[in-house]
Amino acid sequence: MKKAIRRACALMLCLAGSTMVAPAMASGSIEALANTCNNCHGLKGVSVGASMPSIGGQSESYLRMVMLEWKNGTRYSATMGRLLKGYSDEQIAALAKYFAAQPWVPAEQRAPDQVIFNGRLVSDRCTTCHGERGGQPTDAETPRLNGQWAMYLEMELDKYRDEAVKLPHRKMRKNAQKLEPAEVSEVSHFMAVQKGQ
């Protein structure tokens, strides 16, 4: 499939010429707005930095919800709240729609077999809501975890485990706090290496 895409791209690039007039941005300014997110979250929301989550392909409801919560200050954030206070609710909705429409690209990661095995043993704390392999959340406000960066997942769990951090989701906090310290990393790696749903 990848080869087919490559060939198609190559062919189409060869065809590219002076007859092409409609650039990608002609579809509207959402692309220009979304481009401001790429600096940290990658082109089309595919992050290449382990502490920064990929956002392309997350559900629209989830993305809109967390962005609005950051903007309104009901959800702790280290950085995002300060940024989102500069965006209108309409812009936030448009960004959520844009990134939800992008393909979900699992990050290439590895972990020792033993770590993944241990992670699987405690993954039932996650799978009830996020799906068997983290890729099929039970509702639209729940993010997918499969192929998300392990370091980011670990940092999120650390936030939920810390009572000083203000977060709205009680069930999530309860489950995160029930994990043993070592299990936080293990279960993060288990979800991170899942390629499928």
Partner: protein, 432 residues
């Protein structure tokens, strides 16, 4: 190609590129190109502008002119001085841009003719352009501190352009004995990476503290009376390196006016300070080619139109990155950061493509995020959001700002990790 197919194609191209599976060399548009864009300088601003023009409209011929084959990024380079990063971890070449079909020319631009719209390269070759991105970064004003010349900087480093200078400063810091003094002299505002000198103080202190040299001191002799993220740095210095870092503002005779390189003595108006290591960061101005092209104002910076990043002096030239001055002056000017440069580049790219295609100028969006590391697990940030109203930059005061001084302790560790993640993404955003 109809517009639907074209959109699908562009999406597949972008998706392929982002997943790093696009290995085919893209077609080099030459004779069939509908327009030519020349980019002067391959730092964050120049590289990102070249990339986004090509991503948004592959039919445009894009040529990036950059004398160096390897780029060394400045963000996080203070961690090289403390030994937490290698210089190599900050470096990239231009293969990512070549793979996207951008022509890379390894030369200097020696002249710009804004009327004929032609640039001249070292060796005499010329390139004509329909639009020009001007991203040469900054030059230093040698002699602004008496006795501090380019030749002297080979022994007393500025280390404010990442590369050999960074390693020289690192070596000198490592050679310090316990109890010796390191002097840092920041430049007058505006300068690139506003928190840079103060992050550097923390990184040097971190090295000294953890290598049995905790009695050493870092003395910051500052011509300015305030600095970026000041409350956060002051808090971090006190918490992490108590008694090691002293900051002397301009109003308390902090401004270094002269240096004796032989004795490593810094002279302020009324005093003198001797350092085992001296780090002078000279005053900045826009890179020479931007000034030679007539783009700079009396203070040495390129002014731009907020809607497009087009120069206020010459049409079809777009200064981006550290060379330009923008924002609500004098307090809310846009910081000279990698993030800001990439953001500006995207605005310029959008404006250029719209103009070349006869489309309306897209609404510009300007944001900045800048992380500083006081220790490997201790970071904080500043965020800026700008809007354009009535052709003016407006700093959105309800947003942005620095990390809270009173925050859950986990915040500093999280932001330190975000700094590293940000770096990987911004490098990819500009160079891949």
């Amino acid at each position: 190609m109809n517009s639907v197919n074209r959109r699908v194609f562009l999406q597949s191209l972008a998706a392929a590129g982002s997943a790093s599976i696009l290995t085919v060399p893209a077609a080099r548009a030459t004779t069939t190109a509908k327009a030519r864009v020349v980019v002067v300088g391959g730092g964050f601003g120049g590289a990102a502008a070249a990339k986004y023009i090509k991503v948004m409209d592959p039919a445009i011929d894009v040529t990036l002119v950059e004398p160096n084959a390897t780029y060394t990024a400045c963000p996080l380079s203070n961690e090289v001085i403390s030994g937490h990063r290698t210089l190599e971890s900050l470096q990239t070449r231009y293969g990512g841009l070549t793979a996207r079909g951008i022509n890379i020319v390894q030369r200097w631009v020696t002249a710009v003719d804004p009327v004929k719209k032609v640039v001249t390269l070292t060796g005499g070759a010329t390139l004509s352009y329909d639009a020009l991105i001007m991203a040469p970064g900054v030059d230093f004003t040698w002699g602004a501190v008496e006795g501090y010349t380019q030749a002297v900087s080979e022994e007393i480093p500025h280390a404010y352009k990442a590369g050999p200078q960074t390693l020289l400063l690192k070596d000198q810091v490592m050679a310090m004995k316990d109890g010796e003094v390191c002097i840092i002299a920041p430049p007058p505002k505006p300068f690139r990476c506003p928190p840079g000198p103060y992050e550097r103080a923390a990184q040097i202190a971190h090295y000294l503290k953890h290598h049995g040299k905790g009695k050493s001191k870092i003395l910051i002799l500052d011509p300015n009376d305030s600095f970026s993220k000041q409350a956060l740095f002051t808090q971090a210095w006190k918490a992490l390196y108590p008694g090691m870092i002293e900051w002397v503002p301009g109003k308390d005779d902090g401004k270094v006016v002269k240096i004796d390189p032989k004795t490593r003595t810094c002279y302020t108006t009324f005093g003198e300070h001797k350092g085992r290591v001296v780090n002078i960061i000279p005053a900045h101005k826009a890179g020479k080619i931007a000034r030679d092209a007539g783009l700079a104002n009396a203070q040495g910076w390129c002014e731009v139109k907020p809607m497009s990043m087009e120069s206020t002096v010459h049409a079809d030239i777009y200064p981006v990155g550290d060379c330009c001055i923008a924002g609500e002056l004098p307090v809310y000017d846009m910081p000279k950061s990698a993030h800001m440069a990439v953001t500006q580049a995207k605005v310029a790219a959008g404006a250029i493509i719209a103009k070349l295609n006869g489309l309306p100028n897209p609404e510009p969006f300007y944001v900045n995020t800048c992380y500083s590391l006081a220790a490997p697990d201790y970071g904080f940030s500043v965020v800026h959001v700008y809007k354009v109203e009535d052709n003016k930059f407006i700093y959105v005061k309800t947003a942005g700002g620095v990390s809270p001084v009173q925050a859950p302790p986990i915040t500093r560790r999280l932001e330190a990790e975000y700094a590293n993640g940000w770096f990987n993404n911004i490098m990819a955003d500009a160079f891949v």
